[in-house]
């Protein structure tokens, strides 16, 4: 049997705040955040990401954000492009429908994490997946949540509820 092809899988990490988070987070949140991370996965020469428009793809580095701030090599996969597309189609019908995007709990990083596990068995670095909980554990984050999370009604007084993981 011939050895199966191995396709490299990379994680593209973008800082949505372009450095602002690192500078302002101590002031605004009370804790240091290195960035507001957005990730996408690059495999089979395409970049895949999950956003308010659902699962999308583009040429690597082809989003509005430009080239990634860092690239993490998460390994290789034997999963072929065809199989991967099937997998993505199933995801589109299940966990990652367009309307199921939630900036705190089911966001781009959630997606990336799922996909990387599928492809390589590994998870993405924890500083990325911990971000929502980090933010939500601050008062400012909770306040922010009322704006960003469509399911949350603005609370009367202080923010309530435990910070959520993803």
């Amino acid at each position: 049997m011939e050895p199966p092809n191995l396709y490299p899988v990379k994680l593209y990490v973008y800082d949505l705040s372009k450095g602002l988070a690192r500078r302002l987070s101590p002031i605004m949140l009370g804790k240091q955040l290195e960035g507001i991370w957005h990730t996408s996965i690059v495999v089979h020469k395409d970049e895949f990401y999950f956003g308010v428009g659902g699962i999308s793809s583009c040429p690597p580095g082809g989003t509005l954000l430009g080239p990634p701030d860092s690239v993490v090599d998460v390994g290789s996969t034997e999963v072929t492009e065809e199989l991967f597309q099937e997998y993505l189609s199933s995801l589109r019908e299940s966990l990652f429908r367009r309307e199921s995007y939630n900036v705190f709990e089911n966001n781009c990083n959630t997606f990336t994490n799922e996909v990387v596990q599928f492809l390589t068995g590994r998870k993405i670095p924890s500083y990325i997946t911990d971000l929502p909980s980090e933010i939500l554990s601050t008062p400012f984050g909770q306040a922010l949540r009322t704006f960003l999370d469509p399911r949350i009604q603005p609370p009367e007084g202080s923010p309530v509820g435990p910070p959520n993981g993803q």
């Binding site: 899988v9 428009g53 793809s57 040429p59 509005l64 492009e81 099937e86 199933s90 995801l91």
Partner: protein, 566 residues
């Protein structure tokens, strides 16, 4: 093959719990540690109700083959294995985008699909060339590709006027066609440049495959007010984006990567990217004509090669779409803009002049067009159904401005249609020299009309201008009629010129009897009433042609004069 032997395994195989995770669900399986993948799949297939050969197991990035063992891959208790269930027919086109593979896949997937529609896009590389009533006609077969280009150009030119655009859009034929996103997608995809563009920018294929975006685009194209609104929003969003650090660069990049090639592809054949001047901040003389104003440049020779008319037509589209709207805050909306621009740009192309040129140079073209089967059948049906013809003709934007004219035309329609079926007419129309002569006569009459308007009505003999005079009267100021031109086939093409308005009425809704109706049919009374100095059917025919042409002014030449005289 992996060794799966009792030799390496304990006497009693340990049962391990392995979680199998699909994109949709997750199940836990208890299986012997030393199972083979095949056995594992069998257990899975029962629970997931699939065939084993549909199952693809993935662990740690590796695809598990049937003859492997779980141990071999390190699958221990408590670990998760991923599963993809292959469906027999690959699921495509679900609620959202069918595929986000490279654009080539999409292109090749949609091209075969285009064969299933009633419209053959092959003969209309820019798809939208066939609109309204002609939607189905192109599939009837055009006898030459020249004609299809002609048709496209003609319609595109005609649609450069915004009012006309509106008229067209309100035409139920057009609406039904445009509201079919599949159709639109195929039409756009059929453009080879578009395909190229898609290969370079798969995002565009996503755009086209997303029915929502397509629908939105069509809505926008249909509704100029909405388009303006959207453009305005785009501009706002853009300026916001610009203020984000790095945002401007992103915008610029987006523009250069996506918008520009798209527009270039769309515009290539049509005389340049209308955004070129915007992007480069240059102000060319032609490029910066204020939007929505008519082109007041006199066209010295209507039959000369394309001039500023078209670029101003394109510019009106450009400026109305706003400077800097070349990119947008999100790629989706940006591409919508691009697509909308593309759609609009399809409608605004140079070509009228080159069209006329082509016509005069290529009598074969006219012959083809006239003999095109659908043309004949259309004319026949129109002549049989004068009401329909009247309807179509009167829907032409031209006449909405002038109810008098409508009344005039109405009774003359049937006669005109008869006229059109006359083979003599057809042969005369295919004779370029005859047409040129007629044009000269027409110009002469036009000049006469402007120089000595009082003279015309009394100038009856031989030309039957009596009726024509009344036609010329309103025709002068009511420029649009000019383009209506003398002849059905010409209506869409030649004289319509940049004014366009009648254009769509021509191919779009009427294709024939409409606009030309009045002028030529006005000759009908002359047949019976005016004392024709010459005799014989040929002469009569010539007179009719002359009258028709006289009614049609050469594009815009006398109009400014006439208008300014008013």
């Amino acid at each position: 093959a992996a060794a799966q032997g009792p030799a390496s395994a304990p006497a009693e195989p340990k049962i391990i719990k392995v979680t199998v995770k699909t994109p949709k669900e997750k199940e836990e399986f208890a299986v012997p540690e030393n199972s083979s993948v095949q056995q594992f799949k069998e257990a899975i297939s029962k629970r997931f109700k699939s065939q084993t050969d549909q199952l693809v197991l993935i662990f740690a990035g590796k695809i598990l083959k049937d003859q492997d063992t779980l141990i071999q891959h390190g699958i221990h208790d408590g670990l998760t294995v991923h599963l993809v269930i292959k469906s027999q027919n690959r699921p495509q086109g679900q609620s959202t985008q069918p595929s986000n593979a490279a654009g080539t896949n999409t292109t090749s997937a949609s091209t075969p699909r285009s064969n299933s529609t009633s419209i053959s896009t092959n003969s209309n590389p820019f798809g939208l060339g066939s609109l309204g009533g002609l939607a189905g006609l192109s599939s009837l077969g055009l006898s030459s590709t020249n004609f299809s280009e002609l048709q496209n150009q003609m319609q595109q030119q005609l649609l450069s006027s915004p009012e006309m655009m509106i008229q067209i859009m309100e035409n139920p034929f057009v609406q039904s066609m445009l509201s079919n996103p599949d159709l639109m997608r195929q039409l756009i995809m059929a453009n080879p440049q578009m395909q190229q563009l898609i290969q370079r920018n798969p995002e565009i294929s996503h755009l086209l495959n997303n029915p929502d975006i397509m629908r939105q685009t069509l809505e926008i194209a249909r509704n100029p007010a909405m388009m303006q609104e959207m453009m305005r929003n785009q501009d706002l969003a853009l300026s916001n984006l610009e203020s984000i650090p790095g945002g401007y660069n992103a915008l610029r990049r987006m523009y250069t990567d996506i918008q520009e090639p798209m527009l270039n592809a769309a515009q290539e054949q049509f005389g340049g990217n209308p955004f070129a001047s915007v992007g480069s901040n240059s102000t060319s003389g032609e490029g910066t004509q204020p939007s929505r104003t008519e082109n007041r440049d006199p066209l010295p020779n209507p039959w000369a090669p394309p001039q500023a008319t078209q670029s101003s037509a394109t510019t009106s589209t450009t400026t109305s779409s706003g400077s800097g709207s070349g990119s947008s805050s999100s790629s989706a909306t940006g591409n919508t803009v691009a697509a909308a621009n593309y759609v609009a740009s399809i409608f605004s192309t140079p070509g009228m002049q080159s069209l006329l040129q082509q016509i005069t140079e290529n009598p074969q073209l006219i012959q083809n067009m006239l003999s095109a089967p659908y043309m004949r059948s259309m004319m026949q049906s129109l002549s049989q159904n004068p009401d329909l013809a009247a309807q179509m003709m009167l829907n032409s934007p031209v006449f909405t401005a002038n109810p008098q004219l409508q009344e005039q035309m109405r009774p003359q329609l049937p006669a005109f249609l008869q006229q059109m079926q006359n083979p003599d007419t057809l042969s005369a129309m295919s004779n370029p020299r005859a047409m040129q002569a007629l044009m000269q006569i027409q110009q002469g009459l036009q000049t006469l009309a402007t120089e000595a308007p009082g003279l015309i009505p009394s100038f009856t003999p031989g030309v039957g201008v009596g009726v024509l005079g009344t036609a010329i009267g309103p025709v002068g100021p009511v420029t649009p009629i000019g383009p209506i031109g003398p002849i059905v086939p010409f209506t869409p093409i030649g004289p319509i010129g940049p004014i366009g308005p009648t254009g769509p009425a021509g191919p779009g809704s009427t294709g024939s009897g409409g606009p030309p109706g009045p002028t030529v049919s006005s000759s009908t009374p002359s047949e019976t009433t005016s004392p024709t100095s010459e005799s014989g059917p040929n002469q009569q025919f010539i007179q009719q042609m002359v009258q028709a042409l006289a009614g049609a002014s050469p594009p815009q030449l006398p109009n400014p004069e006439v208008r300014f005289q008013q």
